[in-house]
Amino acid sequence: MSEPAPHLVISAVSKRFGAATVLDRVDLTIRRGELVTLLGPSGCGKTTLLRAIAGLSPPDTGTIALAGRDVTHVPPHWRNVGVVFQSYALFPHLTVAGNVAFGLKVRGAPKADIDRAVQRALALVKLGHLGGRRISALSGGQQQRVALARAIAVEPDVLLFDEALSALDRKLREEMQIELRRLLQDVKATAIFVTHDQDEALTMSDRVAVMNKGRIEQLAAPRELYARPASLFALNFVGLSTRIAGQVVGGQDGMVDVVTPVGRLSARGAFQLGASVIVATRPEQLRLGADHEANSASGRVRSVVFQGSRTLVDVDAGAGASLLAELSGREAEVPRVHDEVRFAWPAAETFAFAAEASP
């Protein structure tokens, strides 16, 4: 089965602002109809990359090709990209319908076509009845939808979302994430999201690009990103984890033995003898009890946090090391604070990363 042709190809794109390198030879290929998120902390370059794709801030070197066309230095008004801004950037002097129709009016489309497209776009975002409303009379959630409708109405090649949901309150935000993903899949749109919220990235994307210091550290589907983080940064940025420092004392076949303050642990990785590493695993991998076939450690429970469907247990394992375990709601035995507990987890789900200076 052949892959659909790549829709957006970013190749060796770099950009500097003064002495700072904001994008460092970034490569990214996106297929038509894919939803990709650029995820990372502020300053990682995700917004700069998005703006480069939009044409608002062209790169210094590298190329960007959209639908087969080299658009690296093409100004935004010829690129046919749709952008939804964090502040929505709705035109205050136009009504809702006026905003949505803006892109089409600029292109000189006939009035009947414009009206039809506006109606369709507003219906898609479930605001069909608000066409005549002034922007100032809308709630935040409604403004967000209008911004989306406006970007969709011109049927762009790719939709770009610049932290577009961050101004919404949490419940609305979570609802919008799901609704947005469904809508984009329905219209088979290609979309790129920029966010620093890992939950949003995991919810909405087909693939996630974790960015750090102008580089893409890992590009993978959410499931893989979570279960098989490629770096300490990716591990830290997405999801919770137990992290224990140690030194490599042996290993083979892609596994290493690491000596740590809580004992000898086995992890995936390939390192030199004596290398300083961080051994990590996801909280849901930890099981109460001993297991000689697996990694294990013990300690005193420091806190127990009930979160509805799961309970997080934080354990002081001594010598500055901590364990973070997640017990599902179905677990009968939940330890109490100050209890002495032992946890075990599979070596296959344990990773070793090079210990680096703080990211």
Partner: protein
């Protein structure tokens, strides 16, 4: 959050203030209907004869024409120059933008009289004696600060992301400015235009030193009338000007809102 007494006190002062401010205007309007050549108030009757005499005031029409020309032209030029400067300053990407803004607005705080004599010296020194042109150039400095102040304030509230949004929707940079920034700035533009027109039309401290025997702006001519032969014709003229301004204010309130002119956001 204010106590009852405090609120009443404030309202009393506010109403008193309003009446106090209106007092001279009412007096002028009343005096304009005086049946006698003397300003006898209260009026013993009412007459419109002074309104008829306005046109026959010595040198009235040339002065009116001069004032209007200078006001309209200097305002137009300042609107262009000031708006362009305000855009560059408010964008914030210019080094020393704040200092520049302060410089452009500073003539408002300077005594006009001093500027008047300075310009008199200056124009003489460089041989710039054409009265009309000298007045126009001088009034540029009178009107520009009003435009700069209002437009910088208005632009600082403008979200430049709107321009980016318009560009991604298919507008060129210039097109975005026209379609998005112009409508957003129209109120500020109108307000600065209004203030500039009034500032130029009513200006005397600069004009008094630059007018000569043949060309006098209206305020200077009026000062002359007051000192030489004050009669109610002057009051009639002033009342007409006031009425015209009232109409302008009403239009501005419709278009922009007076509280917006006072500098508060919506």
């Amino acid at each position: 959050m204010m106590t009852r007494h405090a609120i009443i006190f404030c309202w009393v002062l506010a109403i008193g203030l309003a009446l106090f401010l209106l007092l001279p205007l009412v007096v002028i309007a009343a005096a304009s209907f005086s049946p006698t050549p003397v300003f006898d108030l209260p009026l013993s009757g009412a007459s419109l004869r002074w309104y008829g005499r306005i046109g026959r005031l010595d040198g009235f029409w040339p002065s009116l024409s001069l004032s209007l020309q200078i006001a309209v032209l200097s305002t137009a030029l300042s609107l262009v120059a000031g708006t362009l400067a305000a855009i560059a300053i408010a964008r914030g990407r210019l080094p020393g933008a704040t200092a520049l803004g302060t410089l452009l607005v500073s003539p408002l705080m300077m005594p006009g009289l001093v500027l008047g004599i300075a310009l008199l010296q200056y124009f003489r020194m460089i041989g710039f004696t054409a009265t009309w042109s000298a007045l126009l150039v001088a009034h540029l400095v009178v009107t520009l600060p009003y435009v700069a102040r209002t437009m910088i304030a208005g632009l600082s509230r403008f979200d430049f992301t709107l321009i980016e949004a318009a560009r991604t929707l298919g507008c060129t940079y210039a097109g975005s400015v026209i379609r998005v920034m112009v409508p957003a700035l129209a109120p500020s533009f109108l307000i600065s235009g209004l203030f500039s027109l009034l500032a130029s039309f009513d200006n005397y401290p600069v004009s008094i030193f630059l007018t000569d025997v043949r060309s006098k702006t209206l305020p200077i001519r009026m000062l002359q009338y007051i000192e030489e032969a004050p009669d109610p014709t002057l009051a009639a003229l002033s009342t007409l000007i006031l009425a015209g301004t009232l109409v302008l204010l009403l239009i501005s309130d419709r278009l922009v809102g007076l509280h917006r002119m006072a500098g508060t956001a919506d």
